[in-house]
Symmetry: C2
Subunit: 355 residues, 2 copies
């Protein structure tokens, strides 16, 4: 397939990252942004150029609230082009487009590359942002097959993994795996405003992990939640019911049945979390952990990893844990189970300290 | 101070880890456990011996529900010893002990080393478990100063950081930074039981982090929540009130004021999470991130870190992100801000690929 002509509208994190990723594939995109500063920055980074030929594909990368209007505008402006977007809610945009331009809706196909960062703007852009991430394509029965193929082709060029879902299926899935966790993290973190500095000083990794995404951009998330409220609302209602029962059991802890109800919820949490596939698509418990103590000094980790490279063991994951104020660090090495004994034995017999 | 004679009751994760850590400091503890298998395993690991001299300090490391009874038993058995425990709720045990043995309560001082693992049992024990972790000591006005000093001494020998709090202060603090996050993660993960495999296949790092601790042991947690219900209950009530308001706003998204309420909650989450101190006790945003692309092959990470060691840059943290099924990995290096430019420049000019 010859290189498609691509226009990107919106030079923020996603638009600029797309431009950079396309440039690596020798596709020079045309960029457009209302903000002259964003546009210039994205062009200086090498994400594309300011004007180009009539596009085969327009990718709209503006905030969710503006997406439908900009998609409609681009469908009108480029009557032969396929138009897609990257917003994280899909039904609302599709409805708005179908209503405004029923005769052109076959040229609009929503997509959602499941990639992002906590930071925004062109300066946060990364050419690898889409690499190995799902790229959901929400075609409908009216969509032109050529248009779908064009978007699949672009996703594959950028190393993303195309997944086809209906807009409704998409919105329900992200309500559960993305929007609900965001709201739960925000609800938890909001409670921390009541804590004293001394209390928060006792925070461990559990609280840090559970609340991390509460640092996300409120403006962006209000738009996402507002557009997907009908998928999120039933999940929140079930969460309310679970929380009401939990709160009642905890408040009346001596009442018969309270402990069993709390236990059932905790066990439900066990089984729910076990259903999340691991990093490599397998179960998260597929790897074995070998923990090594190293000095907290330049080169210490390197010499450990040089040794591991020399004995030919490939690491699946690595986690470095500093001991605050201490001259050592703990390195958690995750390896395939069949390699764990070899790794441990060779480390120990070469003087490394395991825990 | 001469080496104290120490007896550990309960050879599970914490008791065995304590024994191993003491052994490194040339203190041979006496171990006791109802389970002969646990006891033998802990002794074979080198965590202590089966019988020894009359103890100066007894450390009770049994499940929370049994802690008070075992503390009382040990106070009676060893009339000259100081007795402490490691349970994660403190007021209930102290009350039970004061009620049963009012004349001996000055010899019982609760403590809570804030260390643990998702796995339990003697085989999961680590000598470094307490290293650089807060070790909370919950003395009361009746506590003997010598007894407090003895526990501080042991905590310091193991590399832990002693913190003195009242039992109530402790229980309120852990309700917020440990028990509430546990319940919130379980509530979220419990909802995942309704998701399809296809939906959960779209899970990203946000959901993984937010739900990770939902994998914790329900039996242990029922005991913890039951003993600290009076501190947890008010937090759950506030969470209910936040969730009710959020659920109503999302269900009636078009009603005036809904978006502002959702925005306020998200913003509250931003400010709450910003209050958690970073790994080294500073703000979590104190480090700058430099991300490098490496091959997913033995030795690739090592050669990167060898290079970083050679240019003398000390890493504050390191996160390895695999791209599933892809031959590359992303390495996020966290360094002091003043070193970030040096590191980036030297990496790039030596052919490393940054993103």
């Amino acid at each position: 397939m010859k290189n498609p002509e691509i226009k990107i509208v919106g030079a923020g994190l996603l638009g600029t990252s797309l431009g950079l990723a396309l440039a690596r594939q020798s596709v020079v995109a045309t960029l457009e942004d209302q903000s002259k500063a964003n546009l210039r920055l994205a062009i200086e980074y090498g994400a594309g150029v300011e004007s180009g030929p009539e596009p085969d594909l327009v990718i709209v990368c503006v905030p969710p609230d503006l997406t439908a209007d900009v998609v409609i505008e681009q469908l009108q402006k480029h009557p032969a082009a396929t138009v897609t977007d990257v917003a994280s809610v899909k039904s609302k945009v599709a409805q708005d487009v179908a209503l405004a331009l029923p005769d052109h809706a076959h040229r609009y196909i929503g997509s959602h590359p499941m990639a992002g960062r906590e930071k925004g703007g062109p300066s946060a852009a990364r050419a690898d942002l889409f690499f190995a991430r799902p790229w959901i394509i929400t075609a409908s029965k009216d969509s032109s097959p050529e248009a779908i193929e064009l978007i699949r082709d672009v996703a594959l060029r950028l190393g993303a993994l195309p997944v086809e879902l209906s807009a409704t299926e998409h919105d329900e899935a992200v309500a559960m795996v993305s929007h609900l966790p965001q709201l739960v993290a925000s609800l938890l973190a909001n409670r921390l405003n009541l804590g004293t500095a001394e209390q928060l000083g006792l925070a461990g990794q559990g609280l840090r992990d559970t609340s991390r995404i509460a640092a996300s951009d409120p403006e962006l998330w209000v738009q996402i939640i507002s557009q997907n409220s009908h998928s999120i609302s039933p999940l929140l209602a079930m969460l309310q019911s679970d929380l009401d029962q939990l709160a009642e059991s905890v408040a009346q802890i001596d009442q018969a049945g309270s402990l069993a109800k709390i236990h059932a919820l905790l066990q439900g949490g066990n089984s729910g979390v076990a259903r999340i596939p691991g990093k490599h698509g397998g179960k998260s418990s597929n790897y074995q952990v070998v923990t090594v103590v190293i000095e907290d000094a330049p080169g210490a980790l390197a010499s450990l990893l040089t040794f591991i490279g020399e004995i030919g063991v490939n690491l699946e994951d690595l986690n470095l844990e500093h001991s605050p104020g201490a001259p050592i660090g703990l390195v958690e090495l995750q390896v395939l189970p069949e390699l764990a004994t070899k790794l441990s034995d060779q480390l120990v017999s070469n003087g490394w300290r395991l825990v």
